[in-house]
């Protein structure tokens, strides 16, 4: 699987709540961020958790978020950030706000 996103791309995390072993924290779902780097392809933990070891490997990205985007009540300067490692199927291109 080739990686869809590159460094500097604006993305947003899917706002979805499927059951299972999900390694996309709730606090990041639906939030906008910027791809810091593509780190390689890795097995999908959502499949590994149920013993399915032969699934397609997924591109994994380091995605940086502004703390103020993650937490509306964030106490700290604007430049504070958090970086999460997210699999490609949890990311989509950032849509412009209507």
């Amino acid at each position: 699987m080739t990686s869809q996103f590159g460094e500097g791309d604006s993305v947003q995390v899917r706002l979805a709540f499927p059951p299972g072993h999900i390694r996309t924290p709730f606090y990041a779902r639906g939030k906008p961020g910027v791809v810091e780097s593509y780190v390689g392809n890795f097995s999908n933990p959502e499949e590994l958790a149920f013993g399915h070891k032969d699934g397609a490997k997924l591109p994994l990205y380091r995605v940086r978020f502004r703390q103020l985007d993650l937490w509306p009540d964030y106490q700290g300067p604007e430049h504070d950030s958090a970086v999460l490692d997210l699999y490609e199927h949890w990311l989509e291109p950032l849509r412009a706000k209507s």
């Binding site: 890795f42 703390q67 106490q75 950030s81 970086v83 490692d85």
Partner: protein
């Protein structure tokens, strides 16, 4: 009691400290023990191999990571190697870093990094050993990502507002180690003495190395 001081009315026969086996056995403990026994019975591994793995895990200490940090401080090409590929750089100087990819995140005058695993307890064990209990606590995991400056202050680490605080949440296949800044006034120190300044907490990012006051 004959000492006249200890005359309160609790029953000393009941105030012993419980042994770890005295807490109720949880479902997950039972499952883990059952799986362990099955794997041994089926010959997947031996009790000796299991014991050895625990021993190896417990033998890893923060001094290994500290040695890498000190080397990065004195050797610019090693620093670059570490930033490019921690596992390869560590292996090259005889610190086995294993197969899980580790990234070094470098503190600068404008950036302070700190690591957390909000989902469980991912930690650069290969380089700095087992995580402290607080790293696995719900309080640290939930608060470090939401109010990092307050948590850092509780660790005695005040970060000025002009410095960006960047939290790395270890949500997937990478592990992280903070490459702290070399303290001022340490220009004359040997690599070994520098390594002694680099504590576990500095590599998690909840503290920063302090130079020795002359």
């Amino acid at each position: 009691m004959s000492d006249g001081v200890h005359d309160h009315d609790h029953d000393h026969s009941r105030t012993f400290q419980p042994d770890i086996e005295d807490t109720p056995y949880s479902t997950h403990q039972l499952m883990a023990e059952a799986v362990e026994r099955l794997l041994i019975e089926k010959g997947v591994f031996t009790t000796e191999a299991l014991r050895r793995q625990i021993e190896i895990q417990d033998s890893r200490t923060p001094s290994q990571g500290a040695a890498l940090v000190a080397k990065a401080w004195v050797d610019p090409s090693f620093r670059q190697h570490l930033l490019d590929d921690v596992n390869a750089a560590a292996d090259a100087v005889g610190v086995p870093a294993g197969d899980i990819p580790i990234r070094a995140v470098e503190n600068t005058a404008d950036l302070h990094n700190v690591i957390v695993c909000t989902l469980c307890s991912c930690y650069p064990r290969q380089l700095i050993g087992l995580p402290p209990d607080w790293y696995k606590s719900r309080a640290y995991r939930s608060r470090m990502v939401h109010e990092p400056r307050a948590v850092l202050a509780e660790f005695g680490t005040e970060i000025a507002n002009n410095i960006e605080v960047r939290v790395h949440d270890s949500t997937a296949d990478l592990r992280f180690i903070v490459l702290p800044m070399r303290p001022d006034g340490t220009e004359q120190m040997s690599e070994a003495d520098l390594a002694a300044l680099v504590s576990r907490d500095c590599m998690i990012g909840v503290s920063v190395p302090k130079g020795r006051t002359a």
